[in-house]
């Protein structure tokens, strides 16, 4: 593995929790906070911090609403996030193939 530039790996995605969040969001149209928490297996606080980073990067969109009296946040992967994830996976594959 000589020619691979490690900086090609996106720092925003290159974190276990954020990678998991995007991997979940890529399989669904949108997902509620609790669904993500269940799938990513982390705490509310931790998930919020990572979701905020993804939001700031423009990788996820959030929709906040009330269902009954309960506040519900629903997250959706943006086109920019989808593209970034695809590039990230491509780079991982390049790294494995040794290109």
């Amino acid at each position: 593995m000589k020619n691979f530039d490690y900086h090609q790996l996106n720092d925003i995605i290159h974190s276990r929790i954020r990678l998991a969040i995007i991997s979940v969001l890529i399989t669904v149209d949108e997902a509620e906070f609790n669904f993500l928490k269940e799938k990513v297996k982390t705490t509310d606080g931790n998930l919020s911090v990572h979701l905020r980073k993804l939001e700031d990067a423009g990788y996820v969109d959030v929709k906040k609403e009330f269902v009954g009296r309960k506040p519900v946040s629903t997250y959706k992967l943006t086109e920019k996030g989808r593209k970034a994830f695809e590039i990230y996976v491509e780079n991982l594959e390049k790294l494995i193939k040794g290109k």
């Binding site: 998991a20 890529i26 399989t27 669904v28 149209d29 799938k39 991982l92 594959e93 790294l95």
Partner: protein
């Protein structure tokens, strides 16, 4: 990051995606409920005809189908609240079954009361529609066995078109049991397993 780490990362991504996709699976409740309703309607119609109590013929269908639709709407509303995620595949499936349900209701009620569809041919026409719905569902689920059920529905439709008569009530009931209720029970058990995991 070395190659080993990259491989681990990729397999982690695959595992998370797989785990997330599993939640799409249908729990089979609607299949069981509609299957039971149709069998009850078919059998009650059969016994009404055999015992010459045809004054209220059709009322059994109206009551049972209305119960089915009310149950389906309540169930859909409950599911919308409970489902914490939505998928494009899920939306396609909901649209396929909703439109099929509407089409079958029109054929069953409007078709027969207008005289456009002879009563004896309602079951085969509905079987054709169910065949389409199962074929598409299997394709969306990525499940061959669900798609294969459509062959049973279409074969049954062909048989009922060529062999109309009282036996249609029995043929359609058996098809409902084997191609809808039993698969529904299997899906229900699978969904329960997924929840436990």
């Amino acid at each position: 990051m070395d190659e080993k780490k990259a491989l681990e990362e990729l397999s982690y991504i695959k595992q998370v995606m797989h785990d997330s996709r599993r939640t799409i699976v249908d729990n089979g409740i609607s299949y069981i409920m509609w299957g039971v309703i149709i069998v009850l309607a078919l059998m009650s119609s059969y016994f009404m005809i055999v015992n010459n109590i045809e004054d209220n013929y059709g009322l059994n269908w109206i009551i049972l189908i209305a119960i089915g639709w009310i149950f389906s709407m309540v169930w859909a509303k409950k599911n919308r609240k409970r489902h914490k995620s939505s998928t494009f595949a899920g939306k396609i499936l909901a649209a396929v079954w909703f439109s099929s349900g509407i089409a079958m209701t029109i054929i069953g009620f409007i078709g027969t009361t207008s005289g456009g569809v002879k009563g004896v041919f309602v079951s085969p026409v509905i079987s054709v529609i169910l065949g389409i719905a199962y074929f598409v569902s299997g394709f969306v689920y990525g499940s061959k066995w669900i798609s294969m059920l459509s062959i049973g529905w279409w074969a049954g439709a062909t048989l009922m078109f060529y062999w109309p008569g009282m036996q249609v009530f029995w043929i359609m009931s058996l098809m409902m049991i084997f191609f809808q209720i039993i698969p529904g029970v299997y899906l229900y058990q699978q969904a329960k397993k997924e929840i436990v995991q």
